[in-house]
Amino acid sequence: MSTFTAIVISGIALGAIYFLVASGLSLIYGLMDILNFAHGAFLTIGAYAGLELSLHLANGGGPIGFLAVLLVAAVAGAAVAAAAEVLLIRPLYERPVSQILITIGLDLVVVGLLLGVFGSDSRQIVVPIWLTRATHVGSLSIPNGDFAGLAAGAVVYAGLGLFLKYTRFGLVIRAGAENREMVQALGIDVSKAFTFVFGLGGAAAGVAGLLYAVVFSGSLVGPTQGDQLLIFAFIVVVIGGLGSIRGSAIAGIVVGLVQVVSQYYLGSKSGWAEAGDISVVILLALVLSLRPGGLAGAKQR
């Protein structure tokens, strides 16, 4: 029982990290109708930026140092994402297919650059020692990294919810997701919201990249890490319903749980190495056949 509970918590933590990636993808699609294949690049850049800072902090710098590392990952992800929107996406506003193609191209370029600069070997983030330990709750032993993932997911979910509900930018984004043309016809410069949403998504992706490495990848960061995570984030967005933040949160947790639980019970015990990943794909097929619009079914195009 205690093992099962620990696995469930681990699954939810993974789901929280998937949500961090998927929330940005979902916001960008909801407002701009762009499937952003460069999101994995923002994630990897954030992780590398955090890694660079961590190397300069003794023992990872303790809790404050780790928060600083997360902040740098967020800022790096946001800066690159916002710059990509202004320099690459904005000139192609009227050409949706070209927008998708350029995000694919950007991802390839970023991966290539990281391979060229850092090589193909993964590099290790220096993390505070407490993050590698576990907290004992009764007979349960829960890795502190799981708590970090859960906390980040919860903070971003709550923060996004408050931001979308109570700020003018949030109002513009919600309205723009419903009818972008009419937002402009009210005299609002919607391109600012586009850049902001890209930046916001990039920040969440940067944090996700760093946390995934710390919690689920032995603190190792590699040039293709973003692309691996992006596949699951897209699955989360599709299962949750394109454009729905709440759907992405629910789907993130469901996907994380299915992946971790099936990997443990089907994979580890039977030796079927890809059991978790295949279970997620089966889940995707089931959801699409039963609810083609995803769990929230916010937007189908």
């Binding site: 919600r174 402009q184 016809a185 009210l186 609002i188 391109s191």
Partner: protein
């Protein structure tokens, strides 16, 4: 010569001062089909100009082109400022209020949020808007998507009244509304217009006769007739350009 130039400039300035909107040679093709074919007209400041014509004549496309939602070629002057090539939001900020054909309220936002979104200038006039449309005040926390068609139309009009606008573009406000509500709507439009210039696209000739002073009639993407609204008393003109038999 210099005197002549300055006279011409002064004359042009005087024309600009009287002109709320001028379009010249507005043309647009979509998928090989000519939707607008050199539409040209001017709208003087103040008063209501009705832009009418049969279905597919290009009325809605003309309004959408004026605010940049369609990328038509040609010249568009808003209060004397050439805006061709400007993005929509900049044209709107010159003082345009746009009420689209299908209302386009944000169904997932509340009535209040729909109005907040339209606050693009200082000192939004909520008191005035709620005085004209008290139902909106009562339903301020209701999702706009759950309003009736008439209430959505009120909201769409209220959005453009929240800030002072010099030019209102109103596209088929009576479309889909019951005759009883059309009467209320006309009264509301008369009340809210104030000093603004209005360009009204409308199929209902009775509404046009009641509200408008000037006519621009479009036919197959071209301006077929301009003149005072009294021209609608000519049954031959109405039959020929609007395809409507007045029976009088």
């Amino acid at each position: 010569m210099a005197g002549t130039s300055s006279n011409q400039a002064a004359e042009a300035g005087a024309v600009d001062a009287l002109e709320a909107l001028g379009v010249d040679g507005l043309s647009l093709s979509i998928a090989g089909s000519r939707i607008l074919d050199g539409v040209s007209f001017t709208v003087p400041k103040g008063g209501v100009t009705a832009l009418i014509g049969r279905n597919g004549a290009g009325k809605t496309t003309t309004l959408r082109s004026i605010i940049g939602l369609e990328h038509a070629t040609g010249s568009i002057r808003i209060t004397g400022v050439e805006v061709a090539g400007w993005p929509t939001y900049r044209r709107i900020r010159l003082g345009i209020g746009y009420v689209p054909e299908d209302r386009d309220v944000f169904g997932h936002l509340t009535v209040r949020e729909n109005l907040q979104l339209a606050e693009v200038g200082p000192n939004p006039r909520y008191d005035q808007v709620y005085e004209i449309f008290p139902e909106l005040a009562q339903r301020s926390l209701q999702l706009a998507g759950t309003l009736s068609g008439g209430q959505q139309q009120m909201l769409a009009i209220a959005r453009v009244l929240l800030t002072e606008r010099a030019l209102l573009l109103i596209d088929e406000p009576s479309k889909g509304l019951s005759p009883r509500f059309v009467g209320e709507l006309v009264e509301a439009l008369e009340k809210v217009r104030g000093g603004a210039t209005v360009i009204l696209v409308e199929q209902n000739i009775h509404v046009v006769k009641r509200l408008a002073g000037q006519l621009v009639i479009l036919d197959q993407g071209r301006v077929a007739h301009t003149g005072p609204v009294e021209d609608l008393d000519d049954p031959e003109l109405v039959r020929r350009l609007l395809g409507v038999s007045t029976g009088s």
